[in-house]
Amino acid sequence: MRTNIICIILLLSAANLGMAQQVNKGKQGRFLITNATIHTVTNGIINGDILIDGSTIVNVGEDLNDDSAIVIDGTDRRVYPGFIDSGCKVGLAEIGAVSLTQDHNELGTFTPHMEALTAVNPSSVHIPITRVNGVTTAFTVPGGGLFPGKGALIHMYGYTPESMSAGFQGHILSWPSSGRKHRWDKRSDDDIKKDQEKAQKKLNDFWQSVSAYAKMDNPDGYKPQLSTLSEVANGKAKLLVEVNKKEDILNAIKWVNDKEINAIFTGVAEGWRVADSLAKYDIPVITGPILDNPSRDSDRYDAPYTNAGKMQKAGVLVAIRTNESDNVRNLPFNAAFAANYGLGLEEAIKAITINPAKIFGVDDQIGSIETGKLANFFICDGDPFEMKTRISHVFINGFNIPVESRQTYLYDEFLDRDSGTKIKD
């Protein structure tokens, strides 16, 4: 009897030992990437090594040595800072047609107190699919009303929304547009003008309340819509203004200057038409998607492709976004088209690394490969803009994330599928 029990215990332990872990997980630790071509973005291209420990880059240079680190051979490989998408919906939108999976568009015109960060779904299937293409960080934004809420900069790894936070949240203003909404917007020119004027008045009236509230010492009552914007009214926090049409951009510039608001403009599809004004008032721009149709039927066919380059040449600080919910992974290709149509390769890389980091005020942490910054980078075997390039390693917060997603699992399973059981009649 006793031997039987011992046998059973031994068998069970053996079974436990034999059960190998089937899921690959991200691992933090001490890593040394050796002999790689490191695209630091801020310090040129270094042929050398990167040493990371925990979540931080400890050293970047040649011939680094560390016996306790896990070595990753970077020979014939390149390292880039993790790409940053400065405007999208990843984590807030799962399936487009299923409205209850969409968490970015709350009811109401004035909802600036909505915080996208808490609504981010860390388990969203979109997250691994995004990071395997080298996009490690994204600014995910609410939309809908005039003040839809605060967008959140998040890293593409974490088990809770707070642990994904990359240290920036920003208020969004959807500037009342004087243009047609889309191809099926059949309002008359007069109606469009009237609707815009109505919305503009709403905005101005609301901002009066916000300004007044911000000046109060001890305001009564629970007014989250007003209190949340005090930091913008006081010039302490930035306001991201979504605006695209030329006239609207110029009016928005006047408005933010008049209200002494520290603004970032987003969208800016017609920025190339007013690039000098944007540069003159030092307004940073987040633009995209680059892979889009021109805003006017009369525009040259490549207007969206050349937009970023024209603004950058006029002196504007430009970051690129996808504005996507399903394909944030296409950020590098958006940047590539901008590069190919006037922005140039170097500036295009900056537009998805150090520029957004600067714009979001987190360039002490991310956006380049430098000692002391967060270990957010990826390793690949060629130009990350080219399709044939393969990304072999992705590091987020120093975690070595498996370069896998549901879409790669499906590839593995179905490339060479067995016949299943076939019923013959």
């Binding site: 487009g96 909404k181 099926w184 149709n293 039927d297 525009d299 066919y301 490549d302 549901r406």
Partner: protein
Amino acid sequence: MKNLKQYIVVTFLSAICNLANAQPTGDILITNGTVITIEDGVMEDTDVLIRDGKIKQIGQGISVSGVETIDAEGQFVMPGIIDAHSHVGLDAVNEATNPVTAEVWVGDALNPYDIGLYRALAGGVTISHAMHGSANAIGGQCETIKHRWGVLNPEDWRMKDAPRTIKFALGENPMRVHGERHDVAPRTRMGMEQEFRRSFAAAVEYKAAKEKAAKNSKGLTPDYSLRLETLADILDGNIIIHCHSYRADEIIMLMNVLEEYGVDKICFQHVNEGFKVAPELAEFGAHASVFSDWWAYKFEVYYSTAYNATILTRNGVVTSINSDSRELIRHLYHEAAKTQRYGDLTDNEALRLITINPAIQLGIDKRVGSLKVGKEGDVAIFSHHPLSIYATPTYTIVDGIVRFDRDGDAGDVRVDIDPTSEIPAFYESSLHNHEGEGCMQGVYLHSHSH
């Protein structure tokens, strides 16, 4: 003598008709490019001569006088790109009033003024399959069009004698439009199957009634029904079915129904789960026209993979990559290249996805889809290899006529300008509503949702 007079008159009249021929063709010589023929390899420093809209010669050192010449030195010359799924250039896309509308035809609604057609040319696309939408189980007939920008008669955009095609649709769209919105079957995938069965059965009866009446001189022919005529044509193999589909099970369902009725000309469209039943598709001989990486916009595409085109190709299914979008159509060369990131297709395999394969799926592969002597002079020229992210389209040629020229682009190329409009057409760059732009256009006329 009388016969000679008649002969002269007829010849004279035909000559005048030819002068008025508005499906124009041209002569052009492209020199010194890297010519990607698709079916006969890649040739460097090679010339392509097009005469009267047909490829006359491919070789080195072609010399000919009096022909417009394009110097393609350092550039890449490939067949014009073919988009097997598009709604650009159509004034109407969805006759969403009945689950079966085989009698309608998008050719009645061609719009050659659509600026999207020029922008497609600017992306190297010379032919698109202008399709009915996906609101119905059996939709309307589609039209293969050649992008003759500047030609104003819609009739002259049709690719003459291209095989007839028709749109079928499976899955959420027809069920949402008819079952959910109007309480008209089908509401489930079970009901979808029965739509096809009853339609084919009705066509069989119609054909039988006509044949019976033909044999009996005193018999009554059945009432003429263009819907039943078209369905009968499908059963006779005279129309290629292009079926919007996503889920693996519904794809299998339709193949089984078609097999029972002896129909085998089918190209599945979108077919996001095609990779799950690639061997079955290959065995049936069904084709697949897919997105490069669109997914997650509906539940039925939640389990997609960007490796779809690669898996289908590797399992022997004739696969193309399409756009179903006014935006994607502008860079199908980039979309095709994605199979080299999501998979390992070779350069030739990837380029086939946007040239000879869609040509096969549209039944026009004897005429276009590769650069071969005798084929039509549809060419796209790029600054770099078309699969490189740095490729810029420089010339697009249709039937030997330059329809897009990057250096000579006039900027504002509209052929239809509304003089009364003050607000220029301007569309907020919003979240891409994948199907609002594509297959579901015109369905919800009063509530357009993003």
